[in-house]
């Protein structure tokens, strides 16, 4: 083992996953708030991959609302959990969740897509250093995550690596190169979450990949997999609490989600990959969610 000094007592702790129904209910409210925020951002910037952002909100809320052992004040600690947002196009979801849990000031969300701002259309670590990586081109988060994990293990650092990927991203060969590596090295502190919303940019995942379960594909590569309803926070929390799924293997959580989840007229509609909501769409969506965006007083 390489003698890389680690300051003692620096394993941060987040709030932990909620164990009660009330706790889950709080996360559900957080998720609605984050959804409203995303839609407001997409409306204001006239841009956003809303269907991809809305589908992964519940997973992000469970991660930042309890699973990850980080807080806004402990982002530099060597023992922190590393979160890699590999599906960079869905970044409004991440920015909204950052604002929800104190990593960004809500007012900063108006910076989304602004030239020179901290919140570009795809997340950039140079603009926003709290990100563990920049993303935009698909197929990077898992490979980078395996390298981080190897480096952490070698240095004796605690902490886990969590990468959030889209289902379309799993078309990329580099995902499977990384999956092979992680299993070969028994990276049991690595968790991949696949936001399986079923829709890609212009096609359906089931038609573009062989009609086998994505969980089985990962299992074939030596991972332990669980498939859940990724928009049911109770299932998400319960399954995250069981990570790692096996003591000697990497874990993959296949979160079956609905693209555009949470807003009835956006669900399972390919058009919302690129479409920006009109003022009317925004009002309708916010009324349906029943909450205001984080950076607006009223819906």
């Amino acid at each position: 083992m390489i003698p890389v000094p680690i300051p003692s007592g620096l394993t941060p702790s987040g709030t932990g996953l909620p164990a009660t129904a009330a706790g889950i209910e709080t996360l559900r409210r957080d998720a609605r708030r984050a959804r409203a925020t995303c839609i407001q951002m997409a409306h204001d910037a006239r841009h956003g991959h809303l269907k991809s952002a809305l589908s992964c909100i519940d997973v992000l809320v469970a991660l930042y609302g309890g699973f990850l052992n980080i807080t806004p004040d402990t982002l530099c600690l060597p023992g922190r959990d590393r979160f890699l947002f590999s599906k960079g196009h869905a970044v409004t979801a991440l920015y909204a969740v950052y604002a929800l849990y104190g990593y960004l000031r809500p007012a900063e969300l108006d910076d989304y897509c602004r030239t020179g701002g901290r919140l570009p259309d795809h997340p950039c670590r140079h603009a926003l250093p709290l990100l563990e990586m920049s993303s935009g081109s698909l197929g990077y988060g898992l490979g980078i995550g395996t390298g981080m994990m190897y480096g952490m293990m070698l240095a004796g650092k605690p902490g886990r690596v969590v990468a959030l990927l889209s289902d379309g991203e799993c078309n990329e060969g580099s995902v499977w190169e990384a999956a092979m590596f992680a299993a070969a090295h028994g990276q049991n502190r690595l968790l991949a979450i696949i936001d399986y919303n079923g829709l890609q940019a212009v096609g359906r995942s089931a038609e573009l990949m062989a009609p086998t379960e994505i969980a089985e594909k990962f299992q074939g590569f030596g991972w332990n997999a669980r498939t859940i309803d990724g928009n049911d926070l109770e299932q998400v929390v319960e399954t995250l609490a069981a990570v790692p799924f096996a003591p000697d293997r990497p874990s993959v959580l296949v979160a079956r989600t609905r693209s555009g989840a949470g807003v009835s007229f956006m669900e399972d509609d390919l058009a919302w990959h690129y479409r920006a909501p009109s003022a009317e769409d925004l009002a309708k969506a916010l009324a349906e969610l029943g909450v205001a965006p984080l950076h607006r007083e009223q819906p």
Partner: protein, 313 residues
């Protein structure tokens, strides 16, 4: 050069605990000693170039100093986007090592010809591109590249090349004067400096002392040395084991047409010597490829001689 690389790597492993070596399942027996001494810092990721680069990026984000190794044509071509984004965009200190640069694997076929590696790597902003001429330059450059804060590319050739016959210091970003003369200046990158120097010595024996300047770093390019050479030359003969585009010939051409006239006077002529813009079929040996492009001591002597006698227009 490969031996010099593996020895320099062991030295680095000893002196810098952040150094970690990743291979894309290549380098049979070349890294056994490193692996034995640093078993956890030797990592074979398999025949997976994208993973090789991404994994190194993750390690670099965690504070390690990775060196990644594969065949030049595979690594720079297939994993170009990973090098561009995971290393270039993120500005991570990873040394990308391409073995068998140029046509050193000529007989293995077109798949193994690396005539675009320097061009591809030069396209990425902030990436240092080096193409050493011999084992001495590998030993000297490698520690400098590992200490850099950004990404770099190191092209290495085969086994058994001689050292570069120059006493000039070996510093990233600085060219080296190998022979000093007048009228004609040979400019080189990579191991072609050896036949070029042989040709220059032959010309000197005829009373035609020419200049040889060697550029082991293509980016950042030592324009100051080029300007110094251009001030005392009528003809530049640029020699490289790389395709026509994006290597040393292109670098010098661009300088010639963009440098201010007092640095690159119109009287200057440039002759390019190297592989053309073509796919080389037919299984030639590396020596045969060099012979066909005019990179032998004899052919270069003749090129130098006619440049010496030709009066500038």
């Amino acid at each position: 050069m490969r031996r010099a690389f593996s020895e320099a790597l062991i030295q680095l492993g000893r002196s810098d605990p952040r150094v970690i070596f990743l291979t894309g399942d290549l380098g049979y027996q070349v890294f056994d000693a490193f692996r034995e001494e640093f078993p956890t810092r030797y990592l074979n990721v398999g025949v997976a170039e994208a993973q090789l680069v991404n994994c190194a990026a993750g390690l670099a984000l965690e504070g390690w100093r990775p060196l990644i190794y594969s065949i030049a044509s595979f690594l720079t071509g297939r994993a170009f986007e990973q090098i561009r984004l995971a290393l270039g965009y993120h500005r991570l200190p990873v040394v990308v090592v391409g073995a068998g640069g140029g046509y050193s694997y000529a007989q293995s076929g077109v798949t193994h010809h690396a005539q675009e590696d320097l061009a591809l790597m030069s396209l990425i902003p902030g990436l240092t591109v080096t193409c050493p001429g011999g084992p001495d330059e590998i030993s000297a450059l490698l520690p400098q590249l590992v200490r850099q804060d950004g990404p770099s590319y190191l092209r290495i050739g085969r086994f058994g090349e001689p050292p570069v016959p120059s006493s000039a210091p070996i510093t990233v970003g600085r060219g080296r004067r190998v022979r000093s003369g007048e009228r004609v200046a040979f400019l080189t990158t990579g191991s072609v400096v050896i036949p070029v120097t042989r040709a220059a010595d032959g010309l000197a024996a005829e009373g035609r002392a020419v200049t040889v300047c060697h550029f082991h770093t293509l980016r950042p390019f030592d324009e100051a040395l080029l300007a110094e050479v251009a001030a005392h030359a009528e003809t530049l003969i640029v020699v490289e084991d790389h395709g026509l585009r994006g290597g040393l010939r292109d670098t010098v051409t661009r300088w010639l047409v963009t440098a201010p006239p007092h640095l690159a006077p119109n009287r200057l002529r440039m002759i390019g010597v190297g592989p053309g813009d073509t796919v080389i079929l037919g299984n030639p040996t590396p020596d045969e490829v060099m012979r066909r492009c005019g990179i032998t001591a004899e052919a270069l002597t003749e090129t130098g001689r006619s440049a010496w006698t030709a009066r500038p227009g």
